[in-house]
């Protein structure tokens, strides 16, 4: 197919949602071209061999929210999909204390009960209530959201259905939903727990990737969002793809190929070509023109609406809304190649404690101090770090006996008050390493290589505006009916034949595939109509 300059469909951006979308279009029989600016597919979902033998999940590093329907529709297992369980969660304290939670509910009870028996019981209540809420929300994750600005009878019916659904919720479940919408993670946790270590473990889900503190109202929704996934149907649990998250996008690339799709790498799109409100194709940075009546942007809303097209050609309210869309990335990655697993005093020789997330952020105060730095426009001097020593699960990630450690770091604000990211890069790496050293003495001696990924890198390397890992904040007014804008939340754009399918659309960020899948559903539906 290469050399043809006309396609049935062009998907711009080979992040996981671009891949999923392109798979569905190709599977439906469209001659589909997937364009990627970089030398590899995957966008933020890649694995790179940074040091020989050491495979780093440069950006995204775990999986949970991947929509199960996509796995079946695209036959991803056949193409090598294998998600491994993250069996443990390790929350070390700075005083020798820790929480080590695993796969057994009774064992977890007793582990939490070491800190508070009431909390151990509360954790069961809270987990159960969240699981019930997540089950109720799931259908809305997996459908094109209603358009709140439409007078179309189908949209009116869907909005009425939404209202009816809300009214029909079990009162306890509805109350929990309202808590998440109106309260901060810390406020909710104060209702349930007394142990600071336990609170902090739960609270960290409320800030991941978001410019908010655990005491900020916004943290409730962020927390809920991170619980919407599952592992083998076990709600709220996370997994790790064989070969890292990049292993997963390679699976998608193979599926795309099997459906007859074409990938073009090192192909940076300069803009959409359109005439009289209809898409006619794209133009690459090198001047190449590729024609198609159907163009799908897997980029974030700022790129989709303000860069690939001339905002002058779009409705003013949409442009205004996208200009106001909050990105404000606050997360960074620091990835390590290690000569051995770190050691936690008192748990020497326990490699298993790392087979999951290791959560450095032992108290609400700790998390709030980290936030105070972010508010002041600087990197947290003692950041929250979510570590994942993936080679303890997948031996192919590092040479035998050696390890890779992915560290997700909060806060690292995109906008620095008195510095810039080139100056701060090293400082960030040192800060994270020193923080880990506090919990795991001797850590520094294990470090063979350190890779620092700043929010500026995230923006410049993979095009996520301001380095926001979700392609736009997970704020309530930027989700569902409003993602990326009211009236434009159904994957269409004002330009006919031009669609959006990135994480800046419903259901949102994380490796869900939902935006790519639902956009394809909309596109294929529109073509039939």
């Amino acid at each position: 197919m290469s050399g043809v300059d006309r396609y049935d469909a062009i998907v711009v951006g080979a992040g996981h949602n671009g891949l999923v979308n392109a798979c569905y279009l190709a599977k439906a029989g469209l001659n589909t071209l997937l364009l990627e600016r970089r030398h590899l597919v995957g966008g933020a979902t890649i694995t790179e061999e940074v040091v020989p033998g050491f495979h780093f999940t440069t950006f995204s590093y775990a999986i949970s929210l991947m929509r199960p329907e996509i796995v079946k529709d695209l036959e991803l297992v056949k193409h090598g999909m294998m998600v491994l369980p993250l069996v443990n969660t390790f929350q070390p304290g700075l005083d020798g204390e820790y929480l080590l939670l695993g796969a057994d509910s009774d064992a977890n009870y007793h582990e939490i009960a070491r800190h508070s028996a009431a909390d151990a019981e509360a954790a069961r209540d809270l987990d159960h209530l969240i699981a019930r809420l997540v089950r109720a929300l799931k259908p809305w994750m997996d459908r094109i959201p209603p358009n709140s600005r439409s007078s179309d009878p189908a949209d009116m019916a869907a909005l009425a259905e939404l209202e009816g659904w809300y009214e029909a919720l079990d009162p306890d479940v509805r109350a929990m939903l309202e808590r998440f919408r109106t309260k901060s993670a810390a406020e909710i946790l104060d209702e349930y727990f007394e142990s600071d270590l336990v609170k902090a473990l739960y609270a960290s889900s409320g800030i991941i990737g978001s410019r908010c503190s655990v005491r900020d109202r916004a943290s409730g929704i962020v927390w809920l969002f991170h619980k919407l996934g599952e592992f083998d149907g076990d709600p709220g649990h996370w997994g790790f793809h064989k070969g890292g998250n990049g292993g997963f996008t390679q699976v998608l690339a193979r599926a795309f190929e099997s459906f007859g799709g074409t990938v073009r790498l090192n192909a940076s799109v300069a803009g959409l070509r359109y005439e009289e409100g209809r898409s006619t194709g794209v133009e690459l940075e090198d001047g190449t023109v590729i024609e198609s009546d159907l163009v799908v942007s897997a980029l974030d809303p700022r790129q989709t609406f303000l860069r690939l097209v001339d905002p002058e050609d779009l409705p003013e309210d949409l442009v205004g809304r996208i200009r106001d869309f909050k990105f404000q990335g606050t997360a960074a990655k620091v990835n390590f190649a290690l000569s051995d697993v770190p050691t936690f005093p008192g748990l020497e020789g326990r490699e298993d404690i790392f087979r999951g997330f290791t959560n450095l952020g032992p108290s609400i105060d700790y998390l709030m101090e980290a936030w105070a730095d972010c508010e002041a426009g600087r990197v947290s001097r003692r950041p929250f770090v979510d570590c994942c020593v993936q080679s303890t699960i997948d031996p192919d990630m590092a040479p035998a006996g050696q390890h890779v450690m992915s560290c997700f770091v909060m806060y690292a604000p995109y906008h620095l008050a008195d510095s810039d990211w080139e100056t701060e890069r090293d400082n960030l790496g040192i800060t994270v390493q020193e923080t880990i050293e506090e919990f795991f003495p001797g850590f520094g001696e294990l470090v063979l290589h350190r890779e620092v990924v700043t929010p500026m890198d995230i923006e410049q390397l993979i095009g996520l505006s301001e380095g926001n890992i979700f392609a736009g904040e997970l704020l309530e007014d930027q989700l569902f009916l409003n993602r990326p804008a009211p009236g434009w939340n159904q994957y269409r754009t004002p330009i006919s034949g031009y669609y959006q399918c990135g994480s800046g659309t419903h259901p949102g960020g994380c490796v869900t595939g939902g935006p790519g899948w639902l956009a394809a559903k909309q596109i294929l539906g529109d073509r039939e109509a």
């Binding site: 009774d106 009870y109 009431a118 019981e121 509360a122 209540d125 159960h128």
Partner: protein, 412 residues
């Protein structure tokens, strides 16, 4: 790693089969010897010793302890004066059962409760909401519990303390064994003569040894949880997780059960005459008034001849030896319609003593009368077959020794 009970050194050396299971996060033997039947007959023939420490244990004291318990527990706590124990349950406002358990008022105002699941936080929330001055203490780790059950239970324990002689069925007292303070109640989960002992964890092995020594001449048998469960079906005692599930972790009401549906209407006989404001009362009253129970829980005795016949017809022996199951077995109405679903059995055992397969079953109210005939689905060489079963009043086995007065020197 799972926790071990304070009796673990003794339990581990008595466990001769190397089998362990997890019970509420503790390591416990499902059996100690190869013959489950031998353990079972420890309960019915001589005397058995069971480590039941994994139960959650609470001490409830304070000025408003009785007022709090009257609110949180569904059964009238006034029926549990000092020196008495009571089998009880607690419900949510919807009248669905959260848990069952046994409460003791050992001395005036000092209550001790066992429960299968944790309930500290729930109780504290209820106490706070009603403004009760009550101290609810989780003593789960501070105490071990041993159940001494069987016809010779009294003969064994009376060698160690005189205070048990006057102890009537569901009586409770503090006493001393080998100079160690213990709480003894005449209670158990076997439906036999027996005692349960709350033992300070640090005294655990000492008391175990004392009981085993005293039991030597009485063929005392340490038993695991499987033999216990066989006995509890004969005793008609329900097991949470098998015969019902806590409403606390239910997703929908269909998974919950009311005390009336569990066959505990006897707990509410005085409801018309009292004004106890316990949690779930309004829902239970409405259920009684509207007769809106969805089912009830009954005993089911399988017809021995039919049971023999369906297996024999297939050329195999009917399974009767060491059968115990918590798998759901469907029950059908007998009549002209085939496979007319009526309910299910939640526990099943083949009683060695009674020579009858027995089940605890959920049936619609019109099938609940003793003597009613239903079909129970069993699997014969992997095919479903129906066998005749009859509703029977529980307990299936109820020896007089269970409640008999223990006079000094009485033979059993």
């Amino acid at each position: 790693m799972p926790l071990t009970t304070p009796f673990h050194p003794r339990v581990a050396s008595a466990n001769r089969v190397g089998l362990w299971k997890h019970w509420a996060g503790y390591l416990i033997p499902p059996q100690y010897q190869y013959s489950l039947t031998a353990e079972y007959y420890g309960i019915r023939n001589s005397v058995s010793l069971l480590d039941t420490t994994p139960l959650f244990k609470y001490r409830i004291t304070g000025r408003d302890a009785a007022r709090f318990l009257a609110r949180v527990l569904a059964r009238d706590i006034d029926g549990c004066p000092p020196g008495r124990a009571q089998y009880t349950c607690w419900c949510n406002e919807g009248g669905f059962v959260l848990q069952d358990g046994v409460i003791l008022q050992v001395t005036e105002g000092e209550y001790w409760l066992t429960a299968a699941d944790p309930t500290l936080r729930y109780f504290r929330v209820v106490a706070r909401d009603m403004g009760a001055e009550v101290d609810i203490e989780d003593v789960s780790r501070a105490f071990g519990i041993l159940a001494l059950q069987g016809p010779h239970a009294y003969d064994v324990i009376r060698q160690l303390t005189d205070d048990v002689t006057s102890l009537t069925y569901f009586g409770a007292t503090k006493t001393e064994i080998r100079g160690r303070s213990v709480i003894v109640s005449r209670t158990g989960y076997t439906g036999d003569l027996g005692y349960e002992l709350w033992i300070h964890s640090e005294d655990a092995c000492e008391i175990w040894d004392a009981l085993m020594q005293a039991g030597q001449g009485h063929n005392i048998v340490p038993i695991g949880t499987t033999a216990l469960k066989m006995a509890r079906i004969e005793a008609g005692l329900l097991l949470m997780g098998a015969d019902f599930h806590s409403a606390r972790f239910a997703w929908v009401d269909a998974q919950c059960e009311t005390p009336l549906e569990l066959g505990w209407s006897w707990m509410f006989r005085t409801l018309e005459d009292d004004d106890r404001a316990f949690i779930g009362r309004a829902a239970i009253e409405a259920e009684l008034r509207d007769k809106s129970s969805r089912w009830t829980t009954v005993g089911l005795a399988v017809d021995w001849h039919e049971y023999e016949r369906v297996y024999s017809a297939a050329g195999v022996l009917p399974p009767r030896h060491e059968v115990y199951s918590e798998s759901t077995m469907s029950i059908y109405r007998r009549g002209t319609k085939e496979w007319d679903y009526a309910g299910y059995a939640s526990s099943f055992t083949s009683s060695s003593l009674l020579r009858t397969p027995l089940a605890i079953a959920k049936l619609p109210l019109d099938l609940a009368k003793p003597g009613t005939e239903v079909d129970l689905e069993v699997t014969v060489i992997r095919r479903p077959e129906n066998v005749l079963a009859r509703v029977e009043r529980m307990p299936f086995f109820n020896p007089t020794r269970k409640t008999a007065a223990m006079d000094e020197g009485a033979a059993v």
